[in-house]
């Protein structure tokens, strides 16, 4: 176990050290102490290492992550796991706005609630939220899955492309071109797998699926004047 204490070591040193870990590194277990809400903790990692952050983080924790597993024991500020490529980010507490924004791959698990714009413009990331999510979540989501065990706020999936949205609780309102869709066996399978990987005990059958009505993003010659 390697420990980096941000009370005594600079943030740049932490990130440079973690970013320098090679694919075959033997130092696979890391702990970060005293994050105290600092920004950009454990960003740009690209090695199969486990990083546990003991406390709460500020903006952009785990951004651009590849391969690494990052676990925050507190809450995360805006833009956690933004543009993640692969790997896993787990937040024990809540996440602030635009969690997992533009993420291309990997798994983001939020054990508490996520606030507004969760998964905005998601492009392949899987996001599992145990609590609720705020308004405008999955706005313009292109690919990937957003699973919400609690409730969703206003305008869920506005201007959605092909991201899949699964919500167990209520949805305050659906955004433009987002509709409820039939839950087929393949969707239950995707959901079962995501819930299992996120370590959340919930029945896939209790969720509803939402997706794009595909009216907004397909070019329609009858609407040519509007483009």
């Amino acid at each position: 176990m390697q420990t980096i204490d941000l009370a005594t070591q600079p943030l740049r040193e932490l990130n440079a050290t973690l970013q320098a870990q090679a694919e075959q590194t033997n130092a696979t277990q890391w702990e970060v102490h005293n994050p105290r809400g600092a920004h950009a903790i454990a960003v740009g990692l690209d090695a199969p290492i486990d990083v546990t952050v003991r406390g709460s983080t500020g903006y952009y924790c785990g951004g651009m992550n590849k391969q690494a597993t990052i676990h925050v024991t507190g809450s995360a500020g805006p833009g956690v796991a933004e543009n993640m490529m692969s790997g896993t980010v787990v937040i024990d507490g809540d996440a602030s706005q635009y969690a997992g924004a533009t993420g291309r791959g990997g798994l983001l698990v939020i054990k508490g609630n996520a606030s507004s714009r969760c998964g905005i413009s998601m492009k392949g990331i899987d996001i599992v939220v145990q609590g609720n999510i705020g308004h405008m979540s999955a706005f313009m989501g292109q690919a990937g899955n957003l699973v919400v065990c609690g409730d969703a706020g206003d305008a869920l999936g506005d201007s959605l492309y092909e991201a899949r949205l699964f919500v167990r609780g209520s949805v305050k309102s659906l955004g433009a071109d987002c509709i409820e869709k039939e839950m087929r066996p393949e969707h239950l399978e995707i959901l079962r797998d995501l819930l299992a990987r996120a370590g959340i005990d919930a029945k896939p059958e209790e969720f509803r699926r939402y997706g794009s009505a595909r009216k907004l993003y397909n070019f329609d010659i009858d609407n040519a004047a509007a483009y």
């Binding site: 709460s56 903006y59 602030s96 706005q97 705020g134 308004h135």
Partner: protein, 298 residues
């Protein structure tokens, strides 16, 4: 950008440390707003008396005989306490409007920052740590206070453009965001008799709330109607003589974190601002909901 901090103490034993706690929070928010900084502190007050905080670019000259001159003009006893570029005048509450009028004649360069039984506002251009040190903010005591670090967008980097803004007795407002209908609203509020002195959007927000309260709304109701009537982005923190409120616009893109323990309610634009507060690890920490009014009072 801009940074906001706020602290409302439930535990009276912390009151001597209010300034120190708020100053630490304020300086942490320097990189959200390095242009200017300001603080409103609600300290001790005496019934029937008003504290009028004034600011001058020529403090030494303007403040030299200010209390004597104002006493003579009003025919009542006025005392003053000079704090760097600011002075706090103590006068009978029912003479506050007369004092404002007299000051316009006596010291045309003077700006009134606030008046009220308990409020004092100190704000200047410069790094938060420098502003804090000029005014010895960390030594200030009180039951609640609000601080702001400014990164200007809507008006010039001047003392007048710095926050907090006060547009009513014991009321103040700080703002992160920008209002887009402030010009038309300024005209309407001025026509309704509100005093608005700068080109700043936030001052209009403050005057809007003061106007609603003047028309009989509670602070909570005034904040609720601001969600409908103000166009733009805002996270507001407001102070009154005995209370402290928070509201965010429905889009809520301007950050906000709150923490509550048995001893205090705290606000920060970021969690970083709260990490040195006592008992923060065990505090209830949450992000205030969009378009929702939060309010605490003594």
């Amino acid at each position: 950008m801009c940074g906001i901090v706020g602290l409302f103490l439930k535990d009276k034993s912390l009151e001597p440390q209010l300034g120190a706690m708020l100053t630490d929070m304020l300086i942490t928010m320097t990189d959200r707003g390095p242009d200017s900084a300001g603080i409103a502190v609600y300290g001790a007050g005496a019934g029937g008396r008003t504290k009028m905080t004034v600011q001058s670019a020529q403090a030494e000259q303007d403040f030299a005989t200010l209390a004597e001159d104002l006493s003579a003009a009003l025919g009542v006893q006025v005392t003053q306490r000079v704090v760097d570029t600011h002075a706090v005048l103590d006068l009978p509450a029912d003479r506050a409007e007369d004092a404002r009028a007299a000051l316009t004649d006596l010291r045309p360069g003077l700006r009134v920052m606030s008046d009220g039984e308990r409020i004092e506002i100190f704000k200047e251009v410069g790094l938060p740590k420098d502003v804090a040190s000029r005014f010895s903010l960390s030594a200030m005591q009180g039951s609640h206070g609000i601080g702001h670090t400014r990164m200007a967008t809507e008006s010039a980097v001047t003392t007048q453009g710095a926050h907090p803004f006060s547009t009513g007795a014991d009321q103040c407002l700080v703002h992160n965001g920008s209002l887009s209908n402030h010009n038309s609203l300024r005209r309407k509020l001025r026509a309704a008799g509100m005093r608005i002195e700068s080109q700043n959007d936030t001052e209009v927000g403050a005057a809007y709330l003061s106007w609603r309260m003047r028309e009989g709304a509670t602070l909570g109701k005034a904040l609720e109607s601001s969600i409908d009537d103000l166009d733009g982005f805002f996270t507001f923190v407001v102070g009154t003589k005995d209370g402290f409120g928070v509201v965010r616009d429905p889009i809520a893109c301007k950050p906000a974190v709150m923490a509550e323990t048995d001893q205090y309610v705290a606000f920060g634009s970021e969690y970083r601002a709260l990490v040195n507060l006592p008992g923060i690890d065990a505090a209830r920490v949450w992000e205030p909901e969009p378009a929702t009014v939060y309010f605490w009072s003594h």
